[in-house]
Amino acid sequence: MIVIDRLTKRYGAAAAVSDVSFTCRPGTVTGFLGPNGAGKSTTLRMLCGLAAPTSGTASVLGVPFRDLDQPGRRVGVLLDASAQHPGRTGRETLTLAADTIGVERREVEGILTLVGLDAAAARRRVGRYSLGMRQRLGIGMALLGDPQVLILDEPANGLDPAGIHWMRELLRRFADRGGTVLLSSHLLGEVQAVADQLVIIAGGRIAVRGGTADLLSTTGVQARATDAEALTRALTAAGLRHRRRGDGRFVVDAPAESVARAALAHRVVLLELREPDAAGLEELFLSLTSPAERVA
């Protein structure tokens, strides 16, 4: 269980994270999404007690992270796969973590196998690892203490498609046996397939949050017209909730037929009218994050 409550982080006047709240329940995978620089990493570092929030609180398994007894045995954390000492071998890196957590050294061998680092890779120094191998090592470190909660920042970065599939399977299985997973990504496609819940942030604020299935079904129909202003008037007159995206398309929270009738009533020529589909969430994600990114 992870509870994030109105977390805010300011650096001087600039707010990196503003009023972010969400909860991750046991047995679920939460995808924490946003473009680079949206405040995901800052939020996760505050959650893990590495950065002090300006205001708000965060707890893991009912207590602030820093009050956890034996945190390595309760919570598996991967905040940055490239933050490894390049002079240590993969096995040595895991051995140090195992000693700190207090698990048997033989667990290290099981973890190496689990994350797909073979004997040759384990002997190699981390400085010579690819980013994908570092991610596997980092995921291995997170799993080493057999935790109940996983917090992973951009774990799919650098993994090849097979690696991403492997990670999804692993996280799904972890959640299915009662674990809590929070993973961040700047790519919706990486987490859409595995996340039960999505929290999308942009510019440090939560833009959208909800069940993945719900978000998929409520993205609304998309419409495009020859005269955008006329369509705005038509939709407003019909009382249909809508917003206009940067590319000129409208997203309307109503059935396609209602949109078509509103357009007909105001003699608006529609060029496009589409029901939400699987690609809808991706478009929603882009529409929510891209303009904010450009403005900022």
Partner: protein, 269 residues
């Protein structure tokens, strides 16, 4: 990496997260943290080479002490002085890196996630650094004794009586240089800056103290180089021990305390 492997390797592990009570254990013991920090100082090539370098310098200085200079100078305290002094120059780099590499390699993220009480981690690092300093001091004593024995001059009984003093002085010198270096590391959290500061600031301070008449009175109380020289010179008295105490207060205790205060509030990234 297939699903089968996932299942097999997990077979021995609990399949369902155990309830919190079943895994109640005290935090990692302090001794374990110190052992981990000692391991970190030798598990990279850089660390092993630096420690080897300290030993090599010690051995080299042993030969220098045996074969150069006036045979009358081939005494146990004088050999110890040159051997310990030389090793004390390089040794602090080992422990500076033990602190600063957590930031330069960004392993601090993982370290403080696994042990959120930052003061505990730093205390373990200081203890590991102190243990290395004592080990190096003892190595230096053994080399000094060898140099004295093998140099051919026959040490007088009186000279060996000074062995206890030399031992205390040697350990003190290595601890002072080691912990002062770690103080710079902790305050700056940056490898090159801390290493440079560790060498340059004491020298600059000594030059300043030597050049300005008004500082002559306070200089012996604040100059680590002078304290080291007095300790290795073998002529300590209450006054000089008091001076060493003040030097330790400024160059070890104050630096480390300032670093710890800063670290408490610092965001790790």
């Amino acid at each position: 990496m297939s699903e089968k492997i996932l299942f097999t390797s997990e077979a021995g592990r609990s399949t369902v997260p155990a309830p919190a009570l079943a895994r109640r254990r005290t935090s990692a013991g302090f001794g374990r943290l110190v052992r981990i920090e000692l391991r970190k100082s030798v598990d990279t090539r850089a660390g092993r080479w630096l420690l080897a370098g300290v030993a090599i310098i010690g051995v080299a200085m042993t030969f220098v002490a045996m074969f150069t200079g006036d045979p009358d100078d081939h005494t146990f305290p004088r050999s110890a002085s040159s051997i310990q002094g030389a090793m004390a120059v390089l040794l602090p780099i080992v422990s500076i890196l033990l602190v600063t590499s957590e930031w330069s390699q960004r392993t601090a993220l993982q370290t403080f996630v696994l042990t959120p009480r930052r003061g505990r981690v730093i205390a373990a690092k200081l203890a590991a650094g102190a243990a290395l300093a004592v080990a190096v001091a003892v190595l230096g004593i053994v080399l000094s004794a060898l140099a004295t024995q093998l140099a051919g001059t026959h040490p007088t009984v009186g000279e060996w009586r000074q062995a206890g003093v030399v031992l205390v002085a040697s350990v003190s010198v290595q601890l002072l240089s080691q912990l002062s270096g770690m103080g710079f590391g902790l305050l700056l959290l940056h490898s090159p800056a801390a290493i440079v500061a560790n060498f340059v600031i004491p020298i600059a301070w000594a030059a300043l103290g030597g050049g300005i008449a008004a500082l002559h009175g306070v200089q012996p109380w604040l100059d680590p180089a002078k304290a080291t020289e007095n300790l290795l010179g073998g002529h300590m008295n209450a006054h000089r021990w008091a001076q060493v105490g003040v030097v330790v207060l400024v160059w070890v205790v104050a630096l480390i305390a300032a670093g710890l205060i800063r670290l408490r509030r610092k965001d790790i990234s």
